[in-house]
């Protein structure tokens, strides 16, 4: 199989770490050879968190070349645009949770916020599949990552990984109520 590169991005505190770990372990359960790395300088303090995931036989560095990702997953709209610009290849796929955590420059009015339409325009131009995700009735913001994961499964965005692989990965990483709630949400959203 040709290698498959995923660039996962968001803001510190959004649950990138768990989502990245689930994807990595799902790929392993699916029998893919995996490499990954999280880059999170000062991320805990509201900065950008990025995770590179690479699946395939001929993969050496865990880091993806600029604009060579097949799939960009973002948990926030501004980071979706940043990932789209810096990581995604033409004809790739962008899936993002359409929430906004305004960066400093936007809040102090020295930069324009990113809009959904802006992203859509760029995606159209570069022949990129654009999947904004939002769940209005979601109670716990920390589960936005699970809604995204369910939509990744529903749209079969990662070749070779099936529903049961995602389930197994979640069971590796969570237990008790947390596991139950997440599995339930995953199941509901992927069937929606």
């Amino acid at each position: 199989m040709k290698s498959f590169n995923i660039y996962l991005t968001g803001v510190g505190g959004q649950g990138i770490g768990l989502l990245s770990e689930i994807l990595l372990r799902s790929a392993d359960h699916a029998g893919l050879k995996v490499k990954a790395v999280d880059t999170h300088g000062l991320a805990q303090r509201g900065g950008v968190v990025i995770s590179h995931l690479r699946f395939g036989e001929k993969v050496f560095s865990p880091l993806i070349f600029r604009n060579q990702a097949d799939l960009v997953i973002a948990l926030e709209r501004h980071e979706a645009l940043r990932g789209l610009n810096s990581a995604l290849k033409d004809n790739g796929t962008l899936i993002y949770y359409d929430t906004v955590w305004q960066p400093l420059e936007v809040r102090i009015n020295s930069a324009d916020p990113v809009t959904k339409e802006m992203i859509q325009r760029i995606c159209r131009k570069r022949n990129i599949r654009d999947l904004p995700i939002f769940k209005a009735d979601l109670k716990d913001a920390r589960m936005q990552n699970m809604v995204v994961l369910a939509n990744i499964e529903r749209n079969k965005l990662i070749p070779g990984i099936k529903k049961e692989h995602y389930d197994e990965a979640m069971k590796d990483l969570m237990q008790g109520t947390m596991l139950k709630t997440n599995l339930k949400l995953f199941e509901e959203e992927r069937r929606r």
């Binding site: 990595l24 990954a36 300088g41 501004h78 033409d90 400093l104 809040r107 990113v114």
Partner: protein
């Protein structure tokens, strides 16, 4: 669920996906390392997180977070000369702190063995520089192993520990950020615990251990002789590998992360150069390198950061009168930044313009996303402190930062902490800034973990030499920036509860005459206190305290019956003065297109520190949602 603690202690061989830092812990267990010490710093804190996953009574070793890297090195050394295999780990710049002790280690006969694990940070992802610590190895005659992946961290540590124990010398395992944090599946070997031999084996007959006067030269001679034997060891070591692509024209000598980048880049090459991948980067395997040079017309040294290996190899080529064309660093950019696949692609293109085919790149790159610098968390006590302190100072006053979360105060909107150097430097830098200076007040910041780490000498010096500086201790009760490790004032060490060493008592003991103390959420009072403190024309200290709210909120969320709270904005009362968003600057405040300010429901923690900042009193007290 798989629990990390159980995985790490498994007795039978197994395979598991882990990050490099976790793989190191398993390697230490398999090697029967008995004493491990550290001071927290990225990219290494996850090593301690993996250790914490093993219940204390099941850990086959002793671990502590020491007060700083120098102390950590000394504790490990003491244990090692008593016969225990020891390891100390810390971040790149931690070696500067430890250096005074570290440079002496190679003179000693370290009977238990001692591995120094360094988390270097090419790319300065979370450090104030990207120093190349291989220079320290040359300075101190200490061998360096450099793994390229989590699997190699596991195997190289075991080799390094064995070499160190066999020869009684210190050995460095040099990791870099994206090797520490890389994840892959590793095949681990089985492991059986041995009974711990507690015999204190320290014996002066194994020495000398006192490098004074005439003893220094024989000790240095021995260190150099040992290094020579390691040179031979390196030539035999399977950790140095050749990747033969049958290319007699071109070869590349590389190591670590740049090797992985190279392998990815060479997917774009039809005629791949041969590769010599060094696992030992100091001393280099001389014979192997010489042979590699002999069979290639051109050799590229692909080396991240400085030209340490390049100099060694060029010297070798000169001594052996080899005619191989050697390409080292070609311009300044080659010295800067991490050797990612993209960077290596550019470097190879520069070296051999015909080697690589072009990569597809997007054509239409439009509209960029606004930058997202890190910032203080919602509810952070430092935000209240900066907001209040700024009101006490004139624009011309000088504010000095130290290392920690409060360093982020230099960013807009606060711009507090205009100079930064390294751990503990603020008070003494401020002392220098106060000389001949009657017009601009000098205010210095210092965090609580840093106070103990390297802050005390600067404070004692300010008292001893009577410097006119106002010290603001930003006390949040933890080592927050690196992931909430305890420190000497926390009342808890890594292993057990311990007596607190309160900052105030230390200051009193030192004889500080003017001490103020306040919770930073009392912003108006803090402003007045700082005004008072800077008017005193001698050393004064303000303890500006508030618990780390990231840690506090996480702890609250875990408690049963936790109810989230939020503030709210009364849009009728709001006069759009924007003090909340532009001066106080909590990330919770969101600018709407119509000019309104709203509270972000995912971000507000309901701490209420913002309520007092609104001149129109439009922010309500936090309520349960």
């Amino acid at each position: 669920m798989k629990t990390l603690g159980e995985i790490l202690l498994k007795q039978t061989p197994f395979s598991e996906i882990v990050m490099g830092n976790t793989a190191l812990v398993r390697a230490m267990i398999e090697s029967h390392t008995r004493v491990i010490t550290s001071y927290p710093g990225s990219p290494t804190p996850e090593i301690a997180e993996a250790i914490r996953a093993i219940p204390k009574e099941k850990r086959p070793f002793y671990f502590e977070f020491s007060v700083n890297e120098k102390v950590a090195t000394e504790v490990a050394y003491g244990a090692a000369v008593n016969g225990h295999l020891a390891t100390v780990f810390f971040k790149s710049v931690g070696l500067n702190v430890a250096a005074d002790t570290f440079v002496q280690l190679s003179l000693m006969n370290i009977i238990g063995g001692m591995v120094i694990v360094l988390g270097d940070d090419p790319g300065a992802n979370s450090s104030q520089n990207e120093q190349d610590n291989r220079h320290y190895a040359c300075l101190s005659y200490t061998p360096v192993f450099e793994p390229a992946s989590p699997t190699e961290i596991y195997t190289f540590y075991k080799a390094a520990a064995k070499l160190s124990k066999d020869k009684g010398m210190p050995v460095i395992l040099r990791l870099t950020t994206h090797i520490c944090h890389a994840k892959e599946k590793i095949d681990f070997q089985g492991w059986h615990d041995r009974e711990l031999d507690k015999t204190p084996r320290f014996d002066t007959k194994n020495g000398p251990y006192v490098p004074i006067a005439a003893d220094v030269f024989p000790m240095k001679r021995k260190a150099l002789q040992r290094l020579e034997t390691v040179e031979k060891y390196a030539d035999q070591s399977p950790l140095n590998q050749i990747f033969d692509h049958g290319n007699s024209n071109r070869g590349v000598i590389t190591m670590g992360l740049p090797f992985l980048s190279l392998m990815d880049v060479l997917e774009f090459a039809d005629n791949k150069p041969d590769i010599l991948k060094l696992g030992m980067v100091y001393p280099i395997p001389v014979k192997m390198v010489e042979d590699f040079l002999r069979v290639h017309i051109e050799v590229k040294i692909l080396e991240e950061l400085d030209n340490v290996i390049e100099k060694e190899i060029k010297k070798l080529a000169y001594d052996r009168q080899l005619s191989t064309k050697i390409f080292g660093k070609m311009d300044l950019e080659d010295w800067i930044g991490e050797y990612t696949p993209d960077k290596v692609f550019e470097i190879l293109k520069k070296t051999w313009p015909d080697l690589l085919t072009a990569m597809d790149a997007p054509k239409d790159m439009v509209s960029s996303a606004p930058a997202r610098p890190p910032q203080m968390c919602p509810g952070c006590g430092h935000r209240s402190a900066f907001h209040a302190i700024k009101k006490a100072l004139r624009d011309t006053d000088i504010t000095v930062a130290d290392i920690g979360c409060h360093t982020l105060g230099f960013l807009p909107p606060y711009q507090m902490g205009e100079l930064l150097m390294c751990m503990g430097a603020s008070t003494a830098m401020g002392s220098g800034l106060s000389l001949f200076n009657d017009t601009r007040n000098v205010v210095v910041f210092l965090g609580d973990s840093t106070f103990f780490h390297a802050g005390l000498p600067g404070i004692i010096n300010a008292l001893f030499n009577n410097h006119n500086v106002t010290l603001i201790l930003m006390e949040n009760g933890t080592t927050a920036m690196t992931g909430h490790q305890d420190h000497a004032a926390s009342g808890q060490n890594f292993n057990e509860p311990t007596d607190k060493i309160p900052l105030r008592r230390v200051l009193e003991g030192l004889g500080v005459r003017h001490i103020y103390e306040i919770d930073t959420y009392q912003q108006a009072k803090l402003t007045e206190m700082v005004k008072d403190a800077i008017n005193i024309k001698e050393f004064s200290a303000v303890i500006a305290r508030h618990p780390c709210m990231l840690k506090f909120t996480r702890e609250q969320r875990r408690k049963p019956g936790y109810q989230p709270r939020r503030v709210d904005i009364d849009q009728q009362k709001c006069h759009r003065l924007y003090e909340c968003i532009r001066d106080f600057g909590c990330p919770t405040f969101t600018q709407m297109a119509d000019g309104r300010i709203e509270i972000h429901p995912d971000l507000c923690i309901g701490d209420g520190s913002c309520v007092q900042t609104c001149p129109s009193e439009a922010i309500s007290m936090p309520k349960v949602v």
